[in-house]
């Protein structure tokens, strides 16, 4: 509990600084947003002034900044320059497909990553180790946009096994693989090296000196210890889901937050970019918080440390 409060105390300033950085950087973008609003049409000064007022751009920067922060915590992140819709509505509308895609990618990545990692790590330097690690190497070396297109080409266009567009579970398979492949490769490599490392520890030798079977040594003594680094990686890799979303949604022409972000950047729709970054950093930090808690479950050293202070 103590730990929870302490962690929250770190999360809040991190979010605050992150949001401030977003606001400051996005407000120094050259170019007048009013021109964007008008879409290049000529307009009188009066009209321009009206638009400016509407967007709240007539207020001093500091006032805009404080109202941004206050509104952000309330969940009100302003209106899009282009569609004039509240950005939160736009985010809500596009949220579900991205969540589905992220979960799909996560499941694919964690499952195959951990599987190949253990498969290789339990028998280092064997054929199966080499085989698994070549696959993992491919996983981290394949550009996701290319492999996405290749998957569409092979399984969609040529073989016709999977529909390229559409909804439902089946249409989620190829995008999930695309998102999860890099994830799986990194996970497999780290799980393997961490397992090999643990199997060389003194306490494994102690366990062997007790006459315990190899199977039990891996299951009871190694896995739990070996999973600590991969779980850490999991936290950092959540960021990859955002990368995945942007690229995969583009490749598969799926709607979602990634598409929204890309469009917003290309159109310099500042409130939308701002809102998406605020939203994504919050989710990312929150997910990492969950990972931090998971540690404690795995490693009693951390758990007890936390309870103490």
């Amino acid at each position: 509990m103590n730990f929870f409060i302490k962690k929250l105390l770190i999360v809040i300033p991190t979010l605050y600084i992150a949001w401030t950085v977003v606001f400051v950087t996005l407000n120094i973008i050259p170019g007048d947003p009013v021109n964007l609003m008008l879409g290049g049409r000529p307009a009188s000064d009066e009209v321009r002034e009206n638009v400016r007022k509407n967007l709240g751009l007539d207020k001093p920067v500091f006032e805009r900044y404080t109202s941004f922060l206050i509104n952000a915590t309330k969940g009100d992140l302003g209106k899009s320059y282009l569609t004039r819709q509240p950005v939160t509505t736009m985010i809500k509308e596009n949220m579900m497909p991205t969540i589905e895609l992220s979960i799909g990618g996560l499941i694919f990545g964690v499952f195959f990553g951990v599987f190949f990692g253990i498969f290789a790590g339990t028998k280092p330097n064997s054929m199966r180790d080499t085989f698994s690690m070549i696959i993992a190497l491919c996983g981290i070396s394949l550009p996701s946009f290319w492999i996405g297109m290749m998957l569409i080409y092979i399984f969609g266009t040529t073989l016709g096994w999977v529909p390229i567009v559409g909804e439902g579970f089946v249409s989620l398979i190829l995008p999930s693989i695309t998102v999860g492949l890099f994830f799986a490769g990194g996970m497999a490599r780290l799980t393997r090296s961490s397992l090999v490392d643990v199997l060389n520890q003194d306490y494994i030798r102690t366990a062997r000196s007790k006459g315990i079977s190899k199977y039990r040594i891996v299951l009871r003594h190694s896995l739990r210890n070996a999973m600590i680094p991969p779980v850490t990686l999991l936290g950092i890799q959540f960021g990859l889901l955002i990368t995945g979303a942007v690229i995969t949604e583009e490749v598969f022409a799926r709607p979602g937050l990634g598409q929204l972000l890309l469009q917003a950047i290309l159109a310099k729709d500042i409130p939308l970019v701002q809102a998406l970054v605020v939203y994504m950093t919050a989710v990312y930090i929150f997910l990492n918080l969950i990972v931090d808690f998971t540690y404690g479950i795995i490693d009693p050293r951390i758990r007890l440390e936390r309870n103490r202070g």
């Binding site: 080409y153 960021g239 950047i265």
Partner: protein, 284 residues
């Protein structure tokens, strides 16, 4: 049996690094001597029929404008490798200076420095690159800068912890005791000892940087047509995937193999580093 598996392992490992090294060498030579190797001008429209399939005349076929895909890939190697290296160099130099400095000075400086790294980690790095592009605008060099900038916290964090470890070593205490200055200790004693780690993480990151830059170009934020950057080529090849898959397959394949070669070398380097470290510690 035991001997056999050891030999097999070495063989495969060496084969791996040899593969990586040779392929990379080919790419580098290709990039340098592109005008000699490429059969056609990379930007000349209608060198052949549009969307022609691979043939002896056009090894990898032609694109929608009738340009030779092979020639474009050869010239594209110039972009992909150099932009990757430049962005990693930028990130690693900034990260090293920052990491070593906060680690060695310690105290408040370290706490605040680490906090800055943590906050920057609060942004997923791709999001950070996107944000930077949103601010400074679209373009290949902007993307290179954005990717390099986004990698600084990652580098700084690893280098800081490596420098912290070295700082605790008695030989650094000995330097303090000899009355050496801060700058001398940081860059003459700590830096050489973490240099191998720097090389390894830079190599390990190079593959990722190449992919990130290509991805941003693919999204239309980086290299702009008609530049033959591989990511940008894929972006335009995508529309004709159904009729002319070669415009998409070959640039991607080269991108993939280049990244894989770089990653292979990174792996090999880190294994060599481990061996080197155990020699330093007198274990061998």
């Amino acid at each position: 049996m035991k001997n056999f598996s050891i030999i097999l392992k070495r063989f495969l490992l060496n084969k791996g690094s040899a593969f990586g090294g040779i392929f990379l060498l080919i790419i580098i030579i290709g990039a340098i001597f592109a005008p000699l190797i490429a059969p056609y001008n990379w930007n000349e429209v209608d060198t052949g029929p549009r969307l022609a399939p691979p043939s002896w005349d056009f090894l990898f076929g032609t694109d929608i404008h009738g340009r030779d895909v092979f020639s474009r890939i050869v010239y594209g190697a110039r972009y992909s490798l150099s932009v990757g290296v430049i962005s990693v160099l930028f990130g690693i130099i900034a990260g090293s200076i920052f990491g070593i400095t906060i680690a060695y000075i310690g105290g408040r400086v370290d706490i605040i420095g680490s906090r800055i790294i943590d906050v920057m980690f609060g942004f997923p790095s791709f999001l950070l690159s996107l944000l930077v592009v949103a601010i400074i605008g679209v373009g290949l060099w902007n993307v290179v800068f954005a990717v390099g900038l986004a990698s600084i916290p990652h580098f700084a964090r690893i280098i800081r912890s490596a420098a912290l470890q070295v700082k605790e070593q008695p030989y650094i205490e000995a330097c303090v005791n000899m009355g050496f200055g801060k700058i001398r200790i940081m860059f003459n004693h700590i830096l050489p000892n973490i240099f191998p780690i720097i090389i390894v993480i830079a190599t390990m990151d190079l593959g990722g940087a190449i992919i990130s830059i290509a991805s941003l170009s693919f999204l239309g934020l980086g290299a702009q047509p008609p530049e033959p950057e591989w990511g940008a080529m894929l972006s335009s090849g995508r529309e004709y995937m159904r009729y002319a898959p070669w415009t998409m397959i070959y640039p991607g394949l080269f991108l993939f193999l280049t990244v894989m070669s770089v990653n292979l070398l990174g792996d090999r380097l880190s294994i060599a580093l481990d061996a080197r470290q155990s020699v330093d510690k007198g274990k061998v």
